[in-house]
Each structure stands twice: as C-alpha cells, then as structure tokens.
C-alpha cells in the first residue's frame, strides 16, 4: 500500500530571493528519483506539503506550471518554524515533498473564455502557475483574451519581477502591474490599489472568468468591483488558506462547514463560498 504521508526526496536546485524585505524565497526543486516525478502530476492551483525533517511540514501552493519540465517551484514566506527552516537552507540540500493535493483552477470552465487574473502580494504563486500554463504553446489557443492585474505594497515586494516584465512585452497577455506606493521607482508604471485599478481597467465580464487571490482585504474590496462589472459568483474563482496538517482530509482541521479545504479546495467559486459558512 502506498504511504501518502511519505515525502518524496527533492534537491534544492536554486533559491531566489524575491523581495526587498527578503522574507520571500522561491525554491526550485528537482526530484531525486525519476519515478517520484512521474507520480507527482499536478495541475495549476494545487499545493504540496513541503517537509523539513526536524522542523515539520507546511502546505505551499505550487508556483511552477506542469508545462515547465524537470523541476517544481514554490515561493515561501518566512513565518514560523517550518518556513524559517526552509529559509535557512542552501542550494544542494535535500528536503521532502508530498502531494500534489487539492483541486485546481477550473480549466474546463475557463476554456473558450476570456480570463482575468487578479493577484495581490505574494499570493500570486498559483496564479503564476496558471498563467504560465495558459501561455504555453498550444494551450494559448484554448483561452480567449488574458488580462492580468497584479499588485503589491511597493515595487520591492512584487514577486517574479523579471517574468512580469517579460509578460508586459508580450501581445498575448495584457499586464497591469501596480503598487500601492511608487516611491519614485522607475518600474512599474502604475500606482494604485488592486480594486481601484480593476475598476479603472474594467475588464469585460462577457464570456469571461476571473481568478482572484490575495490578502483578505484586497479580496473584500475587489469582489464588489467584479460584481459591478457583471461577473456572476460562479465565475469569480478564489483560492483559500486554512491551517493544515495532513493535506488529505483526515486530520480534521481545515474544514469550512462540510468541505475540507485540503481535499475539496483550496479553489472555490464565490458561488460555492456563498453557500458555505463564514468561518475562514
């Protein structure tokens, strides 16, 4: 019988410091065993449990896309025991990973539609995965216009900066990178909070679906804007966070009403969330 709690060993290939505060690091990981890599088939939106023996495990959203072969990546904020232990690691060291867990962005519904991606702060990780996936080769044709609004407190806190700049140059995605305060930085070109920028750009809701991830406060003010633009609740897609341990619906801690966020989520539409108790 397969042991779902047994982590696959992975080597840290590269560590990238993402922000000026230096509390966000991206870890590129490679599987030590080819068979493990085959078992680990994921879709954007899913997460994994990263395991540092001696510190413990943490659920982290997968930031790479399955179209990127040979490695997987995660962007981790230094918070407590496990994430600090991860931040203290060096390239070449081995950690564990188990997963992939949870559901994914609803690509079956997104196909043939215009896509609006709205992200805030470091919660841009699985959105990045979705964008890279949709922009990849033959995949691009399956989706209509792609619009991305991404904001952070200031320029230094935006993650994946080189990639954002690259996307700004592309014609198959409309990028709107914004910061709360510019402080005279040469990039990005825009200043303003995500909800305000969304209102200003006013992406059409016609045949369109919106993925939105970010701090609670950003979500709270963005949803009314989307509703005003005509996005119905079943076409506003969210990703949730709850404290987790097992990641597989057994340890009993991550439920919201009768759904386990680790198994039935973390991706829920606003329509689903409206049906669930307000306890997250």
């Amino acid at each position: 019988m397969q042991n779902p709690y047994k982590p696959y060993p992975v080597r840290i290939r590269r560590i990238i410091i993402e922000n000026d505060t230096r509390d966000l690091k991206t870890f590129e990981l490679v599987f030590l065993n080819k068979e493990d890599e085959e078992c680990f088939r994921y879709t954007p939106g899913q997460f994994a449990e990263l395991s540092v023996y001696g510190a413990g495990e943490s659920p982290i959203g997968i930031a790479s896309s399955p179209t990127e072969k040979g490695f997987i990546k995660f962007t981790v904020k230094k918070m407590g025991v496990v994430t600090t232990a991860l931040h203290n690691m060096e390239e070449g060291q081995v950690i564990g990973i188990r997963g992939p867990y949870g559901n994914w962005y609803p690509f079956h519904l997104m196909e043939g539609k215009d896509i609006v991606v709205i992200g805030g702060g470091f919660a841009f990780t699985t959105l990045r995965s979705a964008i890279v996936y949709m922009l990849h080769g033959e995949n691009r044709k399956r989706f209509g216009k792609i619009t991305c609004i991404y904001g952070a407190r200031n320029a230094g806190e935006l993650i994946y900066k080189p990639e954002l700049k690259e996307w700004e140059e592309r014609s198959d995605i409309d990028m709107y990178v914004t910061v709360d305060k510019l402080n005279g930085d040469p990039w990005p070109a825009r200043e303003g909070f995500v909800p305000a920028v969304t209102k200003e750009i006013a992406p059409s809701s016609e045949n369109s679906i919106c993925l939105v991830c970010g701090p609670q406060i950003m979500i709270k003010f963005t949803i009314p804007v989307l509703t005003e633009l005509g996005f119905p609740p079943d076409r506003i897609i969210n990703s949730l966070e709850m404290r987790m341990k097992c990641g597989i619906g057994k340890c009993g801690r991550c439920n919201i009403g009768n759904r386990y966020v680790c198994k039935d989520g973390p991706i829920f539409s606003l329509a689903q969330l409206n049906e669930m108790p307000d306890e997250y």
Binding site: M1, P4, Y5, G54, G249, K250, G257
Partner: protein, 337 residues
C-alpha cells in the same frame, strides 16, 4: 453462523491459550476506572465491566504514533511499524461501530491511511454484548443494538453461568479452534442469549431524536443557540479524546541531536491552536465556534461527507466532562429549539 458455548471459568483458560499467540487486550480494573490493557493471564480480565473509560479506538489510532524516522535531515525508515497480532477481548458494540466510522475517514477511495489499515487488518475483535448498560448510554438512538455482533470476528453474550460465542468471520473461526473447551450451543442457550440482548435494549431508557437532526442543523450555523452553549466549557477536550469517533490529529517532528521521529498525535477541535494560522488569524476564535464545530461535525458535516452520524451513544463525553456538558440535552435542545 455458528454458535458455541463455554462455562464462565473456561473463558479464563480460553484467554490464557490466546496469550502467547497474540497480544491480548481486555478490560482491566484500575483504581477507579476500567481500561483495555494488555493482559498476561486470563485472571486479570475484569468480566463484570460495563464499559472502559477510554475508547479502544487507540488500538487502530493511537494517541501518539511514530510515522517515520529521520536522521540528519534524511528519511531513514518509514512506517507503519509492526504492532504484532492483537486480540481485543470484550469490545462493546458501540465501540465496534466507532471503528467502522473511523474506517470511513482512514480508508476511502481518495487516500488510504496505511497506519490505520495495517492495524485494522491485523487485529481480531472479540465483541461482547452489554448486560447492564449505563444510565448515560444512548446507543439505541443511534441505531446500535447493545447485543449487535456487527463488525466483530467473534461475539460473546454472557448468559449467566455460560458464555455464548458467535463465530462471524474466518479470523473468529481461527481463534476458536485454538481452544478445545467449546461445546455447541443448544436451543436453550440461544433463547437465553436473545433474552439477555432484549433486556439490555429495554434498559436503555434515554432516547434522543437523531432523524431530522442533520436537516435542523443545516440552517443553524448562525443561530444564537451557540452563543450560550459553550459558556461553561473549559476547553479541556476530554470529550474528544475519549470519543470513539473523533479522529483529529496533529503531525509533529521530535528531534534530539540530529535524530528524530515524525509523530502523529491526537488533536482536538476544542483547542484554540487547532486552527490558528501563523499570521495570528483564527477562523474559530472563541469557544463558541469550537463547540459549534464539534457538534456540527458529528451531526451534520460527517453525515453529509460520510453518510453516517459521528456518535455512537457511548456516553463517555457525558460521564467525563468536568462541567457536566450533556450531549443528550444538547441534541434535545437543538431538536426543540
């Protein structure tokens, strides 16, 4: 189904024959309570028990269990580790039902939990019907019969001077054959067995209404009911630790000098840390949300997820709560509120 009988004295010798071939766990009298413990002789078994203080769920899902071992940041050995062949002698029908509820969580089409499953598969359950239910028992309200052999490998009914053994599985058959002191049951024995079971059922006076409870709770998340309910609760979590159906756990690493183990330990929805995010945000901030979670999980969420109620009516949470929270009253208040 085959039925055998054995005299009261010979039960002790039967247990003695099992010891040595299996690790035998049976009700043992402690200072002021009963618990399932490993016995080294049939004489240690306390046959006059009503039920154990703690639930035998720990034989499948221990309070603390090693999942894997690591050294210098590398995995060196993974579980499940072998617990040997175990016989649980005298487990009650409600607690066997508890096993089947845990089974839904730990062994399903999504993820199979090898720690639970290997223990389940290597354990032999010798159930025992109740003669004298406690005043806090309400298993019949949950559709459990105090004389039910469901889920057992062997099932015993105490008919006074003798014990009737029903053989229900090949595992049960196997251990009966370890001992040659059994006789075939006669009609009088079986009639007596029926009577004992019927009497036990009669003795359970407390009834709570479970049908319609889930639907009632569907609309009660925001009800003011929860604001008062938790007030006397001190959050000790005894109710969940002793519950045969509670399955929440934590996973923790324990390290000494580069070497360590990853453990799974019981945890409880009654603890504030259970859902606390590192950011400080807690979706279940006060006792109100936590008590609501406990009740909702048992009588609403579990029902919609697994199609059954996560309660067996054993009454342990009622007997042992330091502030006398009575689950039966809670259910009645929900039904009549």
């Amino acid at each position: 189904m085959e039925e055998k009988v054995i005299s009261r004295e010979k039960v002790v010798t039967f247990i003695d024959t099992l010891i040595g071939k299996y690790y035998v766990f049976a009700p043992v009298k402690k200072k002021d309570f009963i618990s399932f413990d490993e016995v080294k002789s049939g004489n240690e078994v306390y046959l006059g028990y009503r039920n154990s203080k703690d639930s035998p769920k720990r034989f499948l899902f221990p309070q603390s269990e090693v999942m894997l071992r690591y050294e210098k940041g590398r995995l060196i050995e993974e579980g499940p580790f072998d617990y040997g062949k175990r016989v649980i002698f005298g487990i009650r029908p409600c607690d066997i039902k508890g096993f089947s509820l845990l089974n839904k969580v730990f062994d399903n089409h999504d993820f199979r939990d090898p720690y639970f499953i290997t223990k389940r598969d290597s354990i032999i359950l010798i159930g025992m019907g109740c003669r004298e239910p406690q005043t806090t028992c309400f298993c019949t309200s949950l559709g459990i019969d105090p004389g039910s052999s469901d889920g057992a490998d062997l099932f015993i009914t105490d008919i006074g001077n003798k014990y009737v053994f029903q053989i229900l599985t090949s595992k049960g058959e196997g251990i009966i054959s370890e001992y040659d002191g059994f006789n075939d049951a006669e009609k009088a024995d079986l009639d007596m067995k029926e009577k004992v079971s019927e009497d036990a059922k009669e003795r359970i006076r407390t009834k709570v209404e479970i049908s319609g409870l889930k639907e009632k709770l569907d609309g009660m998340f925001e009800d003011p009911f929860w604001s008062d309910l938790h007030e006397k609760c001190i959050g000790c979590a005894i109710c969940t630790y002793l519950c045969p159906t509670c399955h929440c756990f934590d996973i923790e690493d324990e390290t000494v000098n580069d070497k360590g183990v990853r453990r799974r330990n019981w945890d409880s929805c009654m603890f504030p840390l259970f859902t606390l995010h590192t950011s400080g945000h807690n979706p279940r901030e006060s006792g109100k949300e936590r008590m609501r979670q406990r009740i909702m999980h048992k009588f609403n969420y579990f029902v919609s997820y697994w199609g059954d109620t996560a309660c067996v009516g054993c009454g342990r949470c009622i007997i042992n709560c330091p502030v006398n929270m009575d689950l039966r009253k809670v259910i009645n208040n929900i039904n009549h509120g």
